[in-house]
């Protein structure tokens, strides 16, 4: 019957629907957030989380998992607040080196067939250690241009929304529409088929890890642009948030089934979930819990949709 909405469409719309419900609830509770400045404040901190989630999505797309993205973002934030500010050339070189290390990890994991969860676990200690060496005590200063960009107030549409849309569109076009993007996703779906078709699995993994490194570096820079200073522990919780964001956005752990647009929406939903409770004027103690609860609710809805699909 045409009366029943297509479950597949429903599942694709679920992340956007969750975000819309959350946003509507916040607007209803606090109408002042509906203004330009309200939205700006509400979504500002979403940009680094969105970028970290995109980084995690690249890794999950090839059936791996990155437990180090939080400490990696912390490190790139520390580099951005120190070297990138004092000696831009050194700063850019250091960030490029970080991306190269990420690409190397992809190669190591593929060549030795290592579990990514353990390698990135080890790397999380390494990144954190390097971050402490770069910036032993909290401080540093964001480069002028970075701060200018992150506090930019374009007309009509708040910057966080523009940034999120641009990130979503760029990654979506690159990964979902481009021919090589299909190959990259195929590595997560059926690696052997991709290999038999003559594509290099090694190259694909290296590219995906390098892309994650680039997105993570941007996340660190965006974070410093917002906070103006950094410390070595600044983004440690991004590891868990980014995994949650990818799953919330409709991604799955295996099979290369990810959605860049969904991941961006998932990250924004998690950011809003934290502020939602403060608008409810409930106890701020439950902020983290609210993120957990929203994650569970959305996943439960997905199960219901999948069941409906199974019955048809």
């Amino acid at each position: 019957m045409g009366a029943v909405v297509n479950p597949r469409l429903l599942r694709a719309l679920l992340p956007a629907f969750s975000l819309a419900v959350l946003l509507a609830a916040i607007f209803w509770l606090q109408p002042r957030t509906m203004t330009y400045f309200g939205l700006n404040l509400l979504l500002n901190l979403a940009i680094p989380i969105v970028l970290a989630t995109i980084a995690q999505m690249f890794i999950i797309c090839v059936n791996d998992l990155d437990l180090s993205i939080g400490s990696y973002v912390s490190l790139t934030a520390c580099i951005a607040a120190t070297w990138l500010n004092d000696e831009p050339v050194v700063g850019v070189a250091a960030l490029a080196l970080c991306v190269l290390v990420y690409a190397g990890l992809g190669a190591l994991i593929h060549i030795r067939q290592l579990p990514s969860i353990v390698v990135t676990l080890g790397m999380s200690f390494v990144w954190l250690g390097v971050a402490i060496l770069v910036l032993p005590t909290p401080g540093g200063e964001a480069p002028e241009w970075l701060r200018g960009l992150m506090t930019w107030k374009p007309e009509f549409v708040p910057f966080p929304i523009i940034a999120s849309v641009v990130i979503a569109v760029v990654v979506h076009v690159g990964l979902m529409w481009s021919p090589y993007g299909a190959v990259l996703r195929g590595v997560g779906g059926n690696a052997r088929a991709v290999e038999r078709a003559g594509w290099s699995l090694l190259k694909a993994k290296v590219i995906m890890y390098a892309l994650a490194g680039i997105a993570g570096a941007f996340a660190g820079m965006a974070l410093v642009g917002l906070t103006t200073s950094a410390d070595a522990n600044i983004a440690l919780r991004y590891t868990l948030l980014s995994i949650a964001g990818v799953i919330l956005g409709g991604g799955e752990f295996v099979g290369g089934r990810v959605s860049p647009v969904g991941a961006v929406i998932g990250a924004m939903t998690l950011t809003l979930a934290a502020s939602f409770l403060s608008f409810l004027q409930l106890n701020p103690d439950w902020q983290i819990g609210a993120q957990g609860a929203i994650l569970i609710i959305v996943l439960a809805l997905r199960v219901l949709i999948n069941r409906a699909e199974g019955r048809r």
Binding site: L65, L67, L108, R112, Q113, L114, P115, I117, V118, V119, L121, G122, M123, S124, F125, V126, W127, L128, G129, V130, A131, I132, L133, P136, L240, I243, A244, I247, F253, N283, D285, W286, Q287, I288, G289, A290, Q291, G292, A293, L295, I296, L299, A300, R302, V303, N306
Partner: protein, 314 residues
């Protein structure tokens, strides 16, 4: 058992590494504090080993199985127990009971989410950990309640340089070794990790075993939270923080297969001692937190790379 058979055990290397690091430390100090370092290693290794036992059973269930709620469970159990006991010796059994009850509830919540939402355990335990951590923050209200005097003394007592807690956890580890190697439950966990479908066809009650494993892991986390809070003079909201990554690191260094199906308990103690002694050694050499973390991470990666070569030979 011949020498060769012992060397072939994956867990031997964690002890070899721990011993080497210990030697390197006391060589630097000229033999001074050799015993004290061991006592400290046993003390702190106890807490690592305790959570790692639970994590090892979970990881042995197979790919995708890992418990991310350990730190939150530790914090909540420690917080609830300390508050309930209110520094009264008479309330110690109640506090212990409440801590274990907390673990039981978190375990049931974790597996409930895995089963009902059909989501990977990593996401289920992640989302439940958010809620558990919030509950701990709300229940604690920033208070730092001391443990009852008798419990605090018990947790910090050493007999001839050996901490009582370490003896307790060594006994627990021995029991869990037998459970893993000799009981139907332990063999079922291993069987599921090797091939879940084959295990199911062979009549293993897969879901029941997985349920018990997640509850077991949460129980060990809550016991660890209870003991750690007693040892360190009260529960703190960040007390479990380092135990998430450490519990996984201990399991891996201890020679348990990350892909599941091959677990072992003795290696957990070796790896716990090794990780603590490594930090001590680097401290003794005067290295700061930065190089220490870098080396810890590098060693975890080296261990897993070395294991991949061993796997290739077999």
């Amino acid at each position: 058992m011949s020498v060769r058979a012992i060397v072939a055990k994956p867990w031997v290397w964690s002890y070899v590494a721990a011993f080497a690091v210990w030697l390197a430390t006391i060589a630097f100090t000229g033999g001074q504090g050799a015993g004290g370092v061991l006592t400290a290693a046993l003390t702190f290794g106890t807490f690592f080993a305790l959570v790692a036992i639970g994590q090892m059973f979970v990881i042995t269930l197979g790919p995708g199985n890992v418990d991310l709620s350990i730190p939150a469970t530790m914090t909540l159990a420690g917080t609830i127990a300390m508050k309930a006991m209110a520094e009264s010796d008479a309330m110690i059994p109640v506090g212990l009971g409440l801590a274990l009850l907390t673990g039981l509830c978190v375990g049931i919540l974790n597996f409930g989410l895995i089963l009902l939402l059909r989501i990977p355990p990593i996401i289920a335990t992640l989302s439940s950990s958010f809620i558990v951590q919030s509950t701990a923050i709300w229940w604690n209200r920033g208070l730092r309640i001391k443990p009852p005097p008798a419990l605090g003394d018990f947790a910090t007592t050493n007999v001839m340089g050996v901490p009582v807690l370490a003896v307790l956890v060594i006994i627990i580890a021995a029991v869990m070794h037998v459970v893993l190697a000799r009981t139907v439950f332990g063999r079922s966990v291993t069987a599921i990790g090797q091939n879940q479908r084959a295990a199911w066809l062979a009549g293993v009650k897969v879901e029941r075993i997985r349920f018990l494993t997640y509850v077991l892991c949460a129980l060990f986390s809550s016991l660890c939270g209870f003991l750690l809070a007693s040892f360190s003079g009260g529960a703190a909201l960040n007390m479990g923080q380092e135990y998430l990554l450490t519990s996984i690191a201990v399991v891996v260094i201890g020679g348990t297969s990350v892909a599941g199906g091959f677990g072992n308990v003795p290696g957990l103690w070796g790896a716990s001692l090794f990780l603590f002694l490594l930090v001590t050694m680097l401290n003794t050499y005067g290295l700061g937190a930065g190089p220490r973390l870098i080396l810890t991470g590098a060693i975890i990666i080296l261990v897993i790379v070395a294991a991949s070569y061993r796997r290739q030979r077999e």
